[in-house]
Symmetry: C2
Subunit: 290 residues, 2 copies
């Protein structure tokens, strides 16, 4: 659910002076306002038989996570829905996940759809004292992941294998409290949320910061699957961030469950360190399956 190059080409064609941060970070910043937008389409991001409340939960999580990755706090939302004829969509199903994040729905647009179900969400947040960017990583930083990776891929694989009783990958939560903490304290030099997989998301930080990122294989291992499997898990909505060595203690005192999975060095690319050798993982990521 990241912008592909079309949006990037576009912004280069337009006059964007006056915007502090636009395309290229998780959310745009103007004044003290952060804003993020995501869309989800049937048969691309979700199956036709997925419960509507779960689709909404994931869409909201994706946007709230973008705001958290900038160190901000999500406040308001606008919702767009195109609903196929005959499909029932209940207000209760929509309202619940907004409430869960304390978001206020302030507007939107609904229409019928001649194709499948489409949902579009705009989330507006407020910045904290520090705005987390992808471009701030420095050699010497430690690389942190907010929670173990791989579980979302496992749940998705289960759904794709026909186990439609299990939709829990839709219900993963954004790291709102941690994002707020990092924005208030400025502990992290850089941050992104894991939506395309750790390798690809880390490469955004590496490229925009002009650094090399090394992920240590043993640190991303999880019960029952390999580091490679975990690295290819997308839409995790965990936070991936870098912290200078002298602030690590402050971080782990407040958030003891975060995992140090690697380090930032001089150089370029994203590399998996395994059995003493380095493997390029900057293109290992997640593609939508359906």
């Amino acid at each position: 659910m990241k912008e592909f190059s079309l949006i990037e080409s576009l912004t280069h064609m337009l006059d964007n002076s006056g915007i502090a941060l636009g395309v290229g970070d998780d959310a745009a910043l103007f004044g003290t306002t952060l804003i993020a937008k995501d869309i989800m389409a049937e048969n691309v991001h979700f199956t036709p038989d997925a419960p509507f409340s779960h689709i909404m939960q994931k869409l909201i999580t994706a946007n709230v996570s973008d705001i958290a990755a900038m160190g901000g706090v999500a406040k308001y939302a606008l919702l767009g829905i195109a609903v196929p004829e005959g499909r029932e969509v209940s207000a209760e199903d929509i309202a619940k996940p907004f409430d869960a994040y304390g978001l206020k729905l302030i507007g939107g647009d609904t229409t019928s759809s001649a194709g499948g179900l489409f949902v579009s969400l705009t989330v507006i947040g407020e910045r904290n004292e520090y705005v987390l960017k992808r471009s701030g990583a420095k050699a010497g930083d430690m690389l942190f992941l907010s929670r173990p990776a791989g579980r979302v891929r496992q749940l998705l694989d289960r759904e794709l294998a026909g186990n439609t009783e299990n939709y829990n990958h839709y219900l993963v939560r954004a790291e709102t409290a941690l994002g707020d903490f990092l924005g208030r304290t400025g502990i992290a030099n850089s941050c992104i949320d894991v939506s395309d997989g750790i390798g690809r998301d880390a490469s955004h930080i590496a490229q925009q910061s002009g650094v090399k990122i090394v992920v240590e294989s043993a640190k991303v291992l999880c019960d029952g699957y390999s580091a490679e499997y975990a690295l290819g898990s997308g839409e995790e909505f965990s936070l991936l961030f870098t912290v200078p060595a002298d602030r690590v203690a402050e971080l782990t005192a407040a958030y003891p469950a975060v995992i140090c999975i690697g380090r930032v060095e001089e150089g370029s690319g994203v590399w998996l360190e395994k059995d003493g050798s380095l493997v390029d993982i900057s293109n290992i990521g997640y593609e939508h399956h359906f």
Copy 2:
């Protein structure tokens, strides 16, 4: 392209304290920021063979018009597009209409679509000293329309009759300068943009202001079609607003082309005055044809 009752039900279920104006006006207001969102779906709002640049123009116009109807100035945009496999979408086609309105594209999201083309736009603007609402009309106000009605319906009918050489209804412009003027001066007691047809849009003002609106048939007549035809023309993106009698001269000095089409009285409903009798037109409006 107005929100139907789903969005309205939703907002009643959620805690919206702290929002100055949300659903029920053309845009939401928080702080000094106005925000509007519209979506358009293939075979609902446009035909599959409509040029992409025209679809974009209309989508942008719809949102910019919502900001203008609140007396604000549109500044930034976020774009969501779901593109069917094999369909070409060029950055140039998208950029042009943003430039035309001086909008800065600050982010968005693109994806493939397994259904048709789906576009979603969020436009962010700044309020002026006065924020125009639907609820401010007072008995004694004069009812103004910013330009003659009916032309959009005529162009749409032509397209639906198979004249695909003529797509000009996509290219109608929002009333940005007039909206800004009304927001700076506070001349208008109430305002809405014409998207569902004059009857239905005026009824939003009548209901929310607790007044009766009388439209004079002779004033909405236009070359070649009846008042009824003009009243049923939607997506005009003209402004429909009410002005107290003592400020009409100030308005017409600055905007001599605006048309006084009626008046506000005590009572309720929207009525067409024709040959001395009143006909209820509060439900006369425009439905999407395709």
